[in-house]
Symmetry: C2
Subunit: 208 residues, 2 copies
């Protein structure tokens, strides 16, 4: 019933570069030369180019024909779009998932929150943030909706890392996550929705 995780070099390299970008090793606007990345990551240009294309879809890099790839430069409009979309789509996913959430899901979400409190590295912290949200949305079983939300989350996480709000808001964000989790546990749809929207609004403001 599981579809193969596709352990191909292209996706592994994409993940490596994603980590490098989220950790600030590669900064916005920085050119990403294919040969340099190949040597650094020990792969040929074929999987690397697929990785760059994949990262471009996520909005982490911008690629112009024959001109090469650069780490994406986020402007305010882009950030506004990302968070406004999240505020529309994520409550929908949460509403669909809420009636299906089980003790196991809550436990998973709580474990993720605990792990996040101990994590410092931006890339891993944003991964844990997404893991938390996914734990709550995933049981909706709405794969297409989830795919879009995940894509937007990746770019949004990038914006938070750039603005360093992911570090500055660590504690507040953790509190908001825990309150949201409790509302979900209680099955309170209205509270959960409004807590989620507030959480996203604050995250948005912190990035500006």
């Amino acid at each position: 019933m599981e579809l193969d995780p596709k352990n191909t070099q292209a996706v592994l390299v994409a993940q490596e570069i994603r980590t490098l970008i989220l950790n600030g090793v590669f900064t916005p606007g920085q050119p990403l030369r294919q040969d340099a990345l190949c040597e650094r990551l020990n792969v040929s240009r074929t999987p690397l180019r697929h990785a760059l294309q994949s990262l471009a879809e996520d909005g982490l890099v911008e690629v112009a024909g024959f001109k090469g790839a650069r780490v994406a430069i986020l402007d305010q409009g882009m950030v506004d779009d990302l968070f406004q979309m999240r505020m529309l789509l994520e409550p929908l996913a949460l509403q669909s998932a809420l009636p299906r959430l089980t003790k196991v899901d809550f436990a998973k979400a709580e474990m993720v929150l605990d792990a996040a409190e101990a994590e410092q590295e931006p890339s891993r912290l944003s991964q844990l943030n997404w893991d938390f949200h996914r734990a709550l949305y995933g049981p909706s079983n709405r794969e297409t909706l989830m795919r879009t939300i995940q894509q937007i989350n990746t770019a949004s996480a990038f914006a938070e890392v750039i603005a360093n709000s992911i570090g500055a808001r660590r504690s507040d964000s953790a509190d908001e996550h825990r309150r949201l989790l409790e509302a979900c546990r209680a099955g309170d749809q209205a509270s959960a929705s409004s807590l989620l929207t507030d959480h996203l609004r604050r995250a948005h403001v912190a990035v500006q």
Copy 2:
């Protein structure tokens, strides 16, 4: 001021395959062998693989590692997700664009509608449909929002072609488009929004 259209073989081939899928030449579930496509489209496998990856992002093909690519199979849940997302995101884009719409935009939209009335081929018709919506949303200048909407529209157009609703609803859809355009011309935000939502709801129902 224009960014290069990236006239690379990979994107040209992607467009060709997209057309073949939307026109029903390739049917859902059909395996897409790389060598066969290469011979048919007269390109090597390198740009073809990039094209397949790009189509996978659009949700038109599914690709599993080492197992090859297939034309995507749409289920009801996927269709529901697509239209529900459209109903959330497109009114937002329209609201942002409305105050900025000019005579030129309206003229463009009307030209597209006229062209659509004379068009039969599904792939071109769905392109014109998107052109119309883009004419109304584009002046919002919200590139990130537009990118997400376009992506969802591509998959949604595929669903409409499969269900043949793009043909069956041609006349109704044209009427709804013209009414929406008039509301925009009048600068009536509330009407425009509700007409758009209705339009999308009917398109959704017609696909089921």
